[in-house]
Amino acid sequence: LNLPIGAVRQRRLHRRIFAATTLLGATLLALPLRSADPPDATPKASPLFDAMKTELDRSMKTLGEQDPAAYYIGYTLTDSQRATVSGSNGALLSSDEARNRWLEVSVRTGSYELDDTHKVDSRTPPNGGPGTNAPLDDDPEVLRRAIWLETDKQYRAAAEALIKIKTGKEVKVQTEEGRAPDFSREKPETYTGPWVSFTLDRKPWEQKVRDYTRYFRQSTAVINSIVTFTANAENIMQLNTEGTHLQFGQIRYRLELFIQGKASDGMDIDRYYNFDWVNPSEAPSDKAVYAAAAQLRKEMEGLVASPLNDPTVGPALLTGRAAAVFFHEVFGHRAEGHRQKDVNEGQTFAKKVGEPILPEFLSIVDDTTMKKLGNQDLLGYYQFDDEGVAAQRVVLVDHGVLKNFEMSRSPLEGFPHSNGHGRRQIGATPVSRQGNLIVESSKMVTNAQLRAKLIELVKQQGKPYGLLIDDIAGGFTFTGRGQPQAFQVQPLVVYKVFADGRPDELVRGVDIVGTPLAALTKIVATGDTTEVFNGYCGAESGSVPVSAASPAILTSELEVQKKETSTDRPPILPPPAHDDAKSGGLQ
């Protein structure tokens, strides 16, 4: 792919977790995780706030009087504690724990109406860099020194950017979308939550990742396997010149299974599965993990032997988790507010507010206040977004009609405020991003009935088969104006469902292609069980944790094309564990 940077966002929707945990999780053995440390009885504000406040006041006093003047300064200090235990092919790959503190400073020059972040052309405005390391020891003087230098650096970048904007010709040619202010005014938030941390004995996990990856060695189809457990505790301190003063934390645990294989024609195939949980007692049991592993292995063995599918157009059924990824890619990214503003974006939905864009039986919300859906932890949950705005439930589509966007503090005409969706990976500038995207349906049938409807549609359209898509890996979504408003989503597990009642056939090498507005209107019915995937979504503000949830959907028309394939052939020799010939013998 040779496209301008930023035009294509490669979304690695690392996937989901599903039924296996919720069905089996309850009955299981005690977990090796020792537990999160109990939070302080009464949350205390970190002693570092004083140092941050002193620098904030001192900086604003001076920088607010410069030309151009700073009108906003914000500090974010993120303390992360991360344990990672990884295994591969039956052995421990690594096991370590690290702590890190990262300081980010945001300085804005100009005014809320026109500031240094104002976009005038396709270039991303230069920023002052991703931030800097801060000491782990609570030393106010050393922290102040880091804040001092970083604030100065960010002010300079913001001043330079604003001068460029004001002296540039482009600012005079304002588009309608560009008339919205550059930064929204928001109510300051104050909150002090408990400081979170965990104490973890990594030994049991070291044995588990060995055992889980050893299991995959039994299969000749699996060339490489990696299983990774991570525990991550993050405490965030935010302070800005508007009066926001926040301290909150979150612990998350994750187990990821990943295997690689190769079809006989050289196509690379990988399978992936992840478990996410918040409460240590809800860690997946061995039974649940082996069930997921067995499923991955079975899919891998099926896929390496399966035939390549030809490009087709026809009815398709997406299971809940596949549908969730589909909505994330096809709808969710286009409902991110800043994309409606940027003149280089396709602005698919910019002018569609109040108009139907989906069948009337579908509604979509993005609710980042939800910790769980059913038994499932949602990765997109948070208390405050990365601009210090409280999380909210946002109705994006109500009975088919587009109502709202995911908004950061970059306002749109008619949408003057953030709704708590300004998000970023540490080091990046926040933009509007998805959180928990939840699809609700008022036209539900059982999943069995949905399948029957698929076959009905296949017959109606005179096709030999329809497609059942069980797993999707995310993909590219083109939202830039220079590109066709198309999406390409990579389904990983696809079956042909035949009209004549033959058993389903696993096929390989298909990409879903299409245009978003058309694809969304072709949905004819949904299943009755909402399924969740949790993943990390990558876009211009980095990788952020998200969830998407949806019931299965049936669409009357979906187009698939052939996937690019690798030229590398399968390995010449059989896997060592499956080599019947005498090792090193005289052949």
Partner: protein, 611 residues
């Protein structure tokens, strides 16, 4: 199908238990996994190529594995920034097709084989048999396919040349077997986190230092090498480092930086807190001096490099020229030019027998030397990264070039390795470069310290100069610069002169009239090549041991910039040299865009005796 898989499983279990049966006492199955995968790769790995009657097979396969146990502790101004320990095993497999005369190596082409897993990567740290077999299997497959593809591209390229070289691609060696016992990492009973805090606290005494960072880097490693020629090695290495960088801005906005470094063969040998604090204190004071100093002028005239500066100068000037290996064939001219501008070409290659240094000077590289007059040297080893036993090499005798450092890659002068093929895993591990270990620059004719200075001042007077320059210390920007952007800026500032620009750090003007000295900042020496060393006008009777890290960053290794490494990215090396006087050196004064001073004064920093 099920029966078949069951059979496979039983087979797998039986091979596993067979391996277990011959388990070594230390429970390290690394070499046995390598041996078994090598055996079947040697006999059964082959690829049928269209239009060829015979299937292609590798003539050489090499397994390298580095087991690293690393601690890294960073502190600034008395506060801990990070503290990590990690153990990883990095595997690298390389294969060659063709033959020793002409093979698939030493060719840089634009496109190459793109496998999906690759021939290098992290592997399990359990020292077990089965997982390593699996990893070696796929890596060997990828390395072999890569070699087949590169070989065909190389042949196509060579057929376009008027006169291909008659130098062999790969030198034959006697296989070596050498197995060190496994040793557990000994971090000593010192509290490294506290030491990092306590030493970095010293810089609180200088509130005008904007940024500083003290890094303790402790490494234990076990290196494994197994080749299809029969070499089998398990060797232990370790080293320890303290590196500190610090910076500030002068009143005119010029950034000034300084550094401190100390290297030792083992963590326990690192200097104690007081010694490090003293060193940091000296650097801090000098940095404050540089901050106030006037900028360096453009200057051409006599320059005295005191031993402390002469040793790092030699490290930078000589290292590319000591290599006798043939440079890689580059399909693209751009690569060729880039390597030239970085100084990767040996100026001594093809000059054996010619005078390259002053007549009384000898240059010896001795991997066996452990110390010099009691000061430990860190460049030593007994077997190089290609499994060739180390050799002491007499490079220059009485000013005449006798030898070059050789890896298994032959060159125009010599065809055999003398055990100097060195690399770290950060570089291309399958392509060790001839690299110095402990380099000794000695002269049979020396001048006592005071006489040297007198000679220097006399030269200065006779040139009728108001002042001359003395260099007390050279810079190591990979340590003194604390941000990647600063380093990139420096690289860009070299323009095409990266091969001959040198970076002095502590430079004084010395006035012959009354002998007084003034510190200057921002000087850069230009046009200083190995040829300049022929014109050394006097050599001191002193000496300095410069322990440092040769950079193995891809593209810098083997170039003049190769002398700028850090503990994380380098290969330990030592240079011993005396003070050197040159009659004419060109110095370029301070250049470049000054930065702007911060708008706010620095916040307070309270000095502390100790944490």
């Amino acid at each position: 199908m099920r029966i078949l898989r069951l059979a496979a499983l039983i087979f797998a279990l039986s091979t596993a238990s067979a391996a277990l049966a011959q388990a070594p006492a230390d429970n390290d199955h690394t070499l046995s996994a390598m041996r078994d995968e090598m055996a079947r790769s040697k006999t059964r790995l082959e690829l049928q190529i269209p239009q060829a009657d015979q299937p292609v097979r590798p003539f050489f396969v090499e397994y390298r594995l580095l087991d690293l146990d690393v601690r890294e502790i960073v502190a600034e101004f008395g506060a801990l920034v990070s503290s990590n320990r990690s153990r990883i095993r990095q595997m690298s497999v390389s294969a060659r097709v063709g033959d020793y005369k002409l093979d698939s190596s030493n060719f840089i082409s634009e496109e190459g084989f793109r496998g999906f897993i690759g021939s290098t990567g992290d592997v399990g740290i359990d020292r077990d048999y089965d997982s390593l077999r699996q990893d070696l299997w796929i890596a060997t497959d990828q390395a072999f396919k890569e070699a087949v593809e590169t070989y065909s591209r190389k042949q196509a390229y060579l057929s376009s040349l008027a006169r291909p070289s008659d130098i062999d691609d790969f030198a034959k060696v006697e296989p070596v077997q050498h197995i060190d016992p496994l040793v557990p990492s000994d971090w000593s009973n010192r509290n490294w986190e506290q030491e990092a805090r306590d030493t970095s606290t010293a810089l609180r005494a200088f509130p005008q230092i904007y940024e500083s960072r003290v890094t303790y880097y402790l490494v234990y490693m076990t290196e494994y090498l197994l080749t299809s020629e029969g070499t089998e090695i398990r060797a232990n290495h370790c080293f320890a480092a303290i590196e500190a960088g610090m910076n500030t801005l002068a009143a005119d906005g010029m950034q000034v930086s300084h550094y401190y470094s100390s290297y030792a063969p083992r963590p326990a040998d690192l200097p104690n807190v007081d010694t490090v604090r003293k060193g940091l204190n000296v650097a801090g004071r000098e940095l404050m001096g540089m901050r106030e100093a006037s900028t360096a002028p453009d200057y051409t005239g006599p320059v005295l490099f005191e031993a402390r500066a002469a040793a790092p100068l030699l490290a930078q000037v000589l290292s590319p020229s000591l290599s006798g290996a043939r440079p890689p064939l580059a399909f693209q001219q751009v690569v060729d030019q880039l390597m030239n501008s970085l100084g990767a070409r040996s100026e001594w290659s093809g000059k054996v027998g010619a005078r390259v240094l002053p007549l009384k000077v000898s240059l010896v590289d001795d991997p066996f030397a452990k110390d010099y007059k009691g000061t430990p040297l860190i460049g030593g080893y007994s077997i190089d990264e290609e499994g060739v036993p180390a050799q002491k090499v007499s490079l220059v005798e009485d000013g005449k070039l006798q030898n070059l450092l050789m890896s298994r890659r032959p060159g125009p002068d010599f065809g055999k390795s003398n055990g100097h093929g060195r690399s770290t895993f950060l570089n291309d591990p399958s392509d060790p470069k001839p690299t110095m270990s402990n380099l000794f620059f000695t002269s049979s004719e020396t001048v006592p310290r005071d006489d040297l200075k007198k000679k220097f001042l006399d030269a200065c007077r006779s040139e009728k100069l108001d002042y001359c320059l003395v260099v007390r210390q050279m810079d190591n920007p990979s340590i003194s610069l604390m941000h990647q952007e600063d380093f990139q800026e420096l690289l860009a500032s070299f323009g095409g002169n990266a091969a001959t620009d040198r970076l002095p750090l502590v430079v004084y003007k010395i006035f012959p009239q009354d002998g007084h000295e003034e510190l200057v900042r921002g000087a850069r020496i230009t046009g200083f090549s190995p040829r300049t060393l022929r014109n050394i006008s006097a050599i001191g009777d002193d000496d300095f041991v410069y322990n440092y890290m040769q950079s193995q960053v891809v593209g810098l290794s083997g170039t003049a910039l190769g002398a700028f490494g850090t503990a994380q990215s380098g290969l330990p090396a030592s240079v011993v040299a005396p003070s050197l006087l040159f009659e004419e050196v060109e110095v370029r004064g301070a250049r470049g865009e000054p930065k702007r001073l911060p708008l706010l004064p620095e916040p307070p920093m309270t000095p502390k005796a100790n944490n």
